[in-house]
């Protein structure tokens, strides 16, 4: 029998990769049947920095799953964001912190979701519930996931539970969460050797609301200005993407992780939705959103309401 496969969403970010590793690690301690962590795409620079810092291997790339393959999903539940073949896989568990949508199973399963900032915070809870000790390097990558998803506790998605988990994990991993956190976030903002086609895909998710298909991507930076140097090329890649994927809108958030604001660029036929959602006038396809850093909490819900 195959291993149980544990993976997060496509276009993996740090939480999705680290949660897959940590959950596979926990699963192997809970159950005799072997579990293996996987990734559905390339690792970004922030994740790479954290994996190298704590000396943890990259998960293997997974392109599709066979029928009846046993899987555990972390950090996502929408089939559109999951691996090819997910419809016919056997989903044993889901550990997630997103809204539930486009998800169903043929049989009862273990589903543990909480409205917290990071999936690794929930996995931390599962280790505690099962009285399983967390190894220092696993604690380190789980801490990295929380720092990434909460932008070092500054995102409005961050909860008391995230902060408490991060502080405990930092102790186990023996790092200072503020110092290590800033270094990791900065490593992630180095966009210099990315093509614009790669940049819009680094952390990009498809959504469907009332039949309208659209894409919302986010890049973190220490300088919005730097990213905007390539605005025209970025816009062209965004237009190309939605044309190829039959989508009606592409919204890119360029988030300043030091100042905690976002510049948005939007293309497509549904720009009026963006203007209504954020009560802004797009100029040159752009608008500045002060205080907006969370796609999940501050962007997708208002788009959905206006779509």
């Amino acid at each position: 029998m195959n291993d149980i496969l544990v993976f997060g969403h496509k276009n993996p970010d740090t939480d999705t990769i680290m949660s897959a590793i940590a959950m596979a690690n926990l699963q192997n301690k809970l159950d005799e049947k072997s579990a293996k962590c996987c990734r559905l795409g390339n690792i970004n620079k922030e994740t790479k920095y954290a994996l190298e810092y704590f000396k943890v291997d990259e998960p293997e790339l997974l392109e599709k799953v066979e029928e009846n393959q046993e899987v555990i999903l972390v950090d996502h539940n929408e089939f559109g964001q999951s691996v090819d073949g997910i419809e016919n896989a056997k989903i044993l568990k889901v550990i997630d912190h997103h809204k539930i949508s486009d998800f169903k199973t043929a049989e009862p399963l273990f589903y543990y979701a909480m409205p917290v900032g990071c999936t690794s915070t929930i996995i931390y809870d599962l280790y505690k519930m099962n009285n399983i000790e967390i190894e220092p390097k696993i604690a380190g990558i789980m801490l990295s996931a929380i720092i990434s998803d909460t932008l070092l506790f500054k995102s409005p998605t961050c909860t008391q539970k995230d902060v408490e988990a991060a502080k405990s994990l930092a102790k186990i991993a023996n790092v200072n969460e503020q110092e290590y956190g800033l270094d990791m976030l900065k490593a992630g903002t180095d966009l210099s050797d990315f093509l614009c086609s790669e940049l819009i895909n680094m952390d990009s998710k498809p959504f469907t609301t009332n039949g309208v298909k659209y894409q919302v991507a986010q890049v973190n930076t220490a300088s919005i200005e730097d990213v905007l140097k390539n605005k025209t090329e970025i816009e062209n890649e965004m237009k190309k993407f939605i044309q190829e994927n039959n989508e009606e809108l592409f919204l890119l958030l360029i988030t300043d992780i030091l100042e905690n604001n976002s510049q948005i660029i939007s293309v497509g036929t549904k720009q009026d939705v963006v203007e209504k959602a954020f009560n802004v006038k797009l100029e040159d396809n752009m608008a500045f959103l002060p205080g907006v850093v969370s796609r999940k909490k501050q962007v997708v819900p208002v788009l959905e309401k206006n779509m």
Copy 2:
């Protein structure tokens, strides 16, 4: 601001009622905002016996919820089995042990599901996780829920976790789970003063698979023969029900809780699905299914596969 409303599915069984009471009790200890348990239909005799035994009041009847009403769902997630207006309510938490289907939210939520025999087993876990002591009478009704859903640990849905939870709860409630359990189950099988129209609705759930709408109901008894005395009238009520609800099949399980077998009666245009699913030939709309006692585990999945 209104109370948070906590409720299980329509056509309430013992687990749905007891889990709503226990979860509201727990929620009130976790959060300042007041939570109130409700029921979506009449209490059956088994549930009544348990509530009276442990001196716990019936929850209030709830017919619909207003927009943005905060709710906690127990023992179900399918909107078709939930309260009227659920689509526009704000679902804060779901505690359940069923497959996930026809469920979605606009925002992240707390969702805790496990493939165990009874929702109250999961709520027992939540009390433990939060270090909250369970009062004896609440322990008693949670024990009743586990006994009911697992047919005193004999159903194939029963897991080690259900047995362990039940044994702990029996100690807190200070009852012998075998003696009390048999008395409670027997109290539930007294069908003498029910009309046939009531009998087919006591524990009845609608399902939709590949566009086909159908109904699966279950009654527990100590004598299948006794129930079959009214077979013609029961069949007529089943036919009337699916006609009024535009359904294509009604399957009634008459489950012998002492011998752990079921007699099925089916009516509608999809009887071939029943024959294929259970590899039986219906005679006079009936078939005997040895060892079948669980709608969730032994009936609905095979119907779905063949629908």
